[in-house]
C-alpha cells in the first residue's frame, strides 16, 4: 500500500566532463583574447588561474543542479517552448520582458521590500561593474598603452580603441571604477548586515556560513581594494604588496565560494526567465480542471509535467477514483482531507461528548 520516494541518483561523470571542458574553453579564450599571452599581465596570474578553476566549478555545479528531476523537466520544457518555431517571436518577446523586469530592473525584489531592493541594487551592480572591469583585465582581453605624455589607449582583444586624456574625467572614472564598485558593494552589504542583525525573522532563519560569510567576503574585498588605492595615492605605496596579496587571497576565496550556498543564485536566477516563459505559455494553453470544484487552476501541460515529476520521484498519489491527488486544486485537497477526517470516527465513541479527559458527560 505505502510507497516511499526513491532517493535521487546523482552522477558526477558528465558534470566533471562539462566542468573540465568549460575550464579548457576559458583557457583557450584567455590565450586567444590576449594574443598568445602577449597582452597578458603576469601580475594577475593568480586571479586568472582562480577564475578558470572557479568557472569549471560553477559549470560542474550547474550540471549537477540540472540533474534534479524537477530542474531537468523545467530546463527541457523551457527550451522546447522557446524554440517552438510558430511561437518563437512571442517567446522571444516574453523572454526579453522577463530579462528586463526580473534580471535588470528586479521588480520582484522591490515587491518583496523596498529596502531589500536598494540593498540588492548596490551589491549586484557593484559586483557587475567590478566583474566587467576585472575579468577582461585578468584574462588579458583589455590592456592600456601610453600614447604621448597624457594619452591612454585602451585595447580590446589586441584591437586599439579610443585614446583618452589621462587627466580627463572619463579617465578618472575608468581608473577608479573598482573604487566606485567597492563603495557600492559596501553600502549594499551594510544594509544587508543591518537587516540581519535587527530583523526578527531574519535572525531566526539565518546561518553564518550561508548568510553572513558572503557579505563579509564582499566587504573584505572592497575594503582591501580601496586600501590599495589609498596606499598608492596617499601613503606612497606603504604595505602595497601585502595588501595586494591579501586582496588577491580574498577574491580567490570568493570565486571558489561561488558554486556553493547563497552566491550560486547568481548563476541560478536567470532560470526564472525560462520558468516565466513556461508559466505564460501554459496559461494560454488548455487548463487543468479540478475534478471536485471544476475550477481551472493551472495549465494542463504544466500539471501533466508535475504529475510525471512526482511519479519519477517515487511518490504514488493515485487515488481509488482514478485521479491523482495533484489533479485537485489546493483548496479541494484541504477540504477533502477535512472530509476524510470528519468521516473517520465511529460516532458511538464517547469522545464526542467532550474531547478533554475528565470533561463533562464522560
Amino acid at each position: 500500500m505505502e510507497s516511499t520516494p526513491a532517493p535521487q541518483k546523482l552522477s558526477y561523470r558528465n558534470p566533471t566532463i562539462i566542468g573540465l571542458i568549460s575550464s579548457v574553453v576559458l583557457t583557450a579564450l584567455v590565450i586567444i583574447g590576449s594574443r598568445n599571452l602577449e597582452n597578458f599581465d603576469s601580475a594577475l596570474f593568480g586571479y586568472t588561474i582562480a577564475s578558470i578553476v572557479a568557472f569549471g566549478a560553477i559549470a560542474f555545479r550547474y550540471a549537477v543542479w540540472l540533474q534534479r528531476p524537477a530542474t531537468r523537466i523545467y530546463f527541457k520544457r523551457g527550451l522546447q517552448l522557446f524554440f517552438n518555431r510558430r511561437k518563437f517571436a512571442k517567446s522571444a518577446k516574453s523572454a526579453a520582458t522577463s530579462i528586463a523586469t526580473n534580471l535588470v530592473e528586479q521588480r520582484f525584489i522591490f515587491k518583496r521590500a523596498r529596502q531589500r531592493w536598494i540593498m540588492h541594487f548596490f551589491i549586484m551592480w557593484g559586483c557587475i561593474l567590478a566583474a566587467a572591469i576585472t575579468f577582461p583585465l585578468v584574462f588579458g582581453w583589455v590592456h592600456f598603452t601610453l600614447e604621448g605624455d597624457m594619452g591612454y589607449r585602451a585595447h580590446l582583444f589586441g584591437f586599439p580603441l579610443i585614446v583618452m586624456n589621462g587627466r580627463s574625467l572619463i579617465a578618472w572614472i575608468t581608473f577608479h571604477g573598482l573604487d566606485i564598485s567597492a563603495v557600492m558593494v559596501m553600502i549594499g552589504c551594510a544594509i544587508a548586515i543591518h537587516r540581519r542583525l535587527n530583523d526578527r525573522g531574519a535572525i531566526a532563519l539565518q546561518q553564518f556560513l550561508l548568510d553572513f560569510v558572503p557579505h563579509l567576503l564582499l566587504i573584505a574585498i572592497s575594503v582591501s581594494g580601496i586600501m590599495l588605492t589609498a596606499s598608492s595615492l596617499w601613503f606612497e605605496g606603504y604595505m602595497y604588496s601585502f595588501i595586494s596579496l591579501s586582496h588577491q587571497a580574498l577574491v580567490i576565496m570568493t570565486l571558489f565560494f561561488l558554486p556553493f550556498g547563497k552566491l550560486f543564485h547568481i548563476v541560478q536566477r536567470p532560470a526564472s526567465v525560462g520558468v516565466e516563459l513556461y508559466q505564460n505559455r501554459s496559461a494560454e494553453m488548455e487548463q487543468a480542471i479540478c475534478p471536485r470544484c471544476k475550477a481551472a487552476f493551472v495549465g494542463k501541460l504544466w500539471m501533466d509535467d508535475l504529475k510525471r515529476l512526482v511519479d519519477e520521484l517515487g511518490y504514488d498519489y493515485r487515488l481509488k477514483n482514478g485521479h491523482t491527488l495533484q489533479d485537485y486544486c489546493p483548496r479541494c485537497k484541504r477540504v477533502m482531507r477535512g472530509l476524510a477526517y470528519a468521516k473517520a470516527p465511529d460516532k458511538a465513541e464517547p469522545v464526542f461528548f467532550g474531547s478533554r479527559v475528565g470533561g463533562p458527560n464522560v
Partner: protein, 217 residues
C-alpha cells in the same frame, strides 16, 4: 525542538483568530499562511484549519527545481529560500495538504514554518497562542496528549502514498492509526451547481474562490 503542533478540527469554531495572528509572524510579516476552510458553508458550519504538517519527507522540497525548500534539524520544512525561489509553483500544487502559498509579483513561495522565530525560542506559534478552543495547540507530546481524549495521528494515506508528519492531527476515534484521503465526493453535487455562478463578496473573503493559493501583496 521537542514541541510540535496538535491540530484538532473538532474544536475549530471557524473564528479565524489564527488567520489574523499568523500575519504577525516575523518570518512572513503581513501575510497569513494558515487556512480555515469551510467544508461547505451551505451544508455545515464545520471548518478545517490547515497549517503545514511538516512532512518527514516533504514532497514540496523534492519537486522544487531550485532546491529552495529546506528541512532543518528540528524537522521544520522552511519557506523557500528567497534568493533561490523561481515562482514555479511546483510545491504549491504538489503538496498533498494544499499548504504552500505563492505570489507571482514577488517571485516567491511562502508557507507556515511553525513561526520558527518564536518556536525556536520555546514560544508558541502565533496561531496556537490565540486559538480560543485549543484546536491549534503547541507543546510536547507527553504534555498535550494525556490531557486529550482524542487520538494523535501523524500518518496520512493519500491514495497509495503514505505521508508521515511532524504535526499531529487529533482524531476523535480510537480506530485506525492514520487518516485515509481518497477523493471524497461529499458536497460535489452542490459544488457543481455553484460552478458557473458569480462568487459573492463573502465567498471571496472566505477564500472559497481561491483555487491557486496565491496570496495578495
Amino acid at each position: 525542538m521537542q514541541e510540535t503542533m496538535f491540530v484538532d478540527p473538532q474544536r475549530c469554531i471557524g473564528c479565524r483568530s489564527c488567520v489574523a495572528a499568523c500575519r504577525e509572524c516575523s518570518t512572513h510579516k503581513g501575510y497569513s499562511m494558515i487556512f480555515v476552510d469551510f467544508f461547505d458553508r451551505g451544508e455545515t458550519t464545520a471548518t478545517m484549519p490547515t497549517i503545514c504538517m511538516h512532512c518527514a519527507e516533504p514532497t514540496c522540497a523534492q519537486v522544487c527545481p531550485a532546491d529552495a525548500i529546506k528541512q532543518n534539524e528540528d524537522g521544520i520544512v522552511m519557506t523557500a529560500l528567497k534568493p533561490r525561489c523561481l515562482d514555479c509553483r511546483n510545491c504549491v500544487n504538489a503538496c498533498p495538504f494544499g499548504v504552500p502559498k505563492y505570489n507571482s509579483a514577488m517571485h516567491l513561495q511562502m508557507k507556515c514554518d511553525m513561526c520558527y522565530d518564536r518556536s525556536s525560542e520555546g514560544l508558541k506559534p502565533m496561531c496556537a497562542s490565540v486559538c480560543p478552543t485549543g484546536a491549534l495547540t503547541f507543546g510536547k507530546y507527553e504534555d498535550v496528549v494525556p490531557l486529550r481524549r482524542t487520538k494523535p495521528v501523524n500518518i496520512h494515506y493519500f491514495g497509495n502514498q503514505k505521508v508521515e508528519t511532524k504535526v499531529y492531527l487529533m482524531m476523535p476515534t480510537n480506530q485506525g492509526d492514520a487518516v485515509h484521503v481518497e477523493g471524497d465526493t461529499e458536497f460535489e453535487e452542490h459544488l457543481s451547481q455553484k460552478a458557473g455562478e458569480e462568487a459573492s463578496w463573502l465567498e471571496n473573503e472566505m477564500g472559497e474562490t481561491d483555487h491557486t493559493n496565491e496570496f495578495r501583496s
